[in-house]
Symmetry: C2
Subunit: 208 residues, 2 copies
DNA sequence: CCTACCGATCGGTAGG
DNA sequence: CCTACCGATCGGTAGG
């Protein structure tokens, strides 16, 4: 359950390009892709309306870059959650914890990435959906492994996987920092609920 | 767990007004409030661009009418779920089942109602949020009642309530008719998962 | 990265 | 519920 604070979300993008991407992320999260104008974004980045196009080909390209970076970050978080865990209970607990916490910690990014897929060009959307499918498969695989080993006794592994992904994604809809929840507190709670769905007594595993 | 097929979603609205509301619902669900133009909506209703304003004051009024009807429908569904159930397990099962099934059955309406709140005028949004809070309280109350009676043994009733609402809402994000799920199959699965979260052996209760 | 600008589309209104 | 239309704003480009 490591937290990555040094991740470089925007890769090789220059400082001007980054400021625009950050502004676009905030604007898209607040008002949606269609509700945010390129002028909004440029102004929030402290630039002229046309500056957006010095760094990015189109408005849709901004959304594509954000969606790609966000889904890659989520997939990395999910893979990293498994690094130091060996038992089925430990692995699923870490997986649910980190996937949930990722959506809380990056709730603006997650919101754009999860709810604005429909505004992407078809080929861009397809690419993003392939990334998301990989994340889904990690969850399915870990649940299947726990069942095969006898650690879980659910009759509906697909339903639990669906619930894990659904609970995580939905966090980005309602989460607000400064409220009663933190990424870690929420991660712990959902991990416990999911282990209950899997027919595992969570108290038999060491708490993180 | 009754299904209401005779609900009148649009109340006293006339036939022209209804066609526009239906078209707006479809357009908002497909492209979002800001992504759907009043011309799109009018064309889908088979009318001229200006016809929208013969029936509705503004575009935001369309969203408000849809949001109000949708949240009232969801609240009614949740209250109706409890009518014939007396045991805590039966009541929570029916509640989760019907709340989940509502979001699948009315997935386009639910999507607009749950994800376009930000586009509402502040006073309209406040009114809608009050309706949603009533739905949330029904869930919280039923879980609390089951704990008080000794039927549930969870340590995190608020977390389970959050999960119930979150799982239900998120159905409207990904659900598509004609897929592997139906409103009823999904309702059953989620009800079972939630009873597991509550520390109840679901097989001890009679299946619906 | 800016100034200046383009054609298209937007929500909404006048008048019937 | 239609035709005709308005001012504002949109995504994007030219030229530097």
């Amino acid at each position: 359950m490591t937290t990555s604070a040094t991740d470089d979300l925007w890769g090789e993008a220059g400082p001007g390009s980054r400021r625009i991407l950050e502004a676009a992320l905030t604007a898209f999260a607040a008002r949606g892709y269609h509700g945010a104008s390129t002028r909004d974004i440029a102004a929030a980045a402290g630039m002229s309306p046309a500056a957006v196009y010095a760094h990015h080909r189109t408005k849709e390209d901004l959304l594509y870059a954000i969606s790609l970076a966000g889904h890659r970050s989520a997939l990395t978080a999910v893979e990293r959650a498994l690094w130091e865990e060996v038992t089925p209970v430990g692995r699923v607990r870490a997986l649910v914890h980190d996937y949930t916490a990722w959506h809380a910690r990056h709730h603006l990014l997650a919101r754009v990435v999860q709810y604005e897929l429909g505004a992407l060009a078809p080929d861009h959307r397809d690419e993003i959906l392939r990334l998301r499918r990989r994340t889904e498969e990690v969850v399915l695989d870990e649940i299947a492994a726990g069942i095969a080993s006898g650690a879980f006794r659910t009759e509906d592994p697909d339903g639990v996987a669906l619930a894990v992904l659904s609970l995580g994604v939905d966090v980005s809809r309602w989460y607000a920092p400064g409220g009663q929840h933190t990424p870690v507190s929420l991660g712990r709670r959902y991990a416990t609920l999911v282990l209950a769905m899997l027919g595992t007594d969570h108290r038999s595993a060491t708490a993180g």
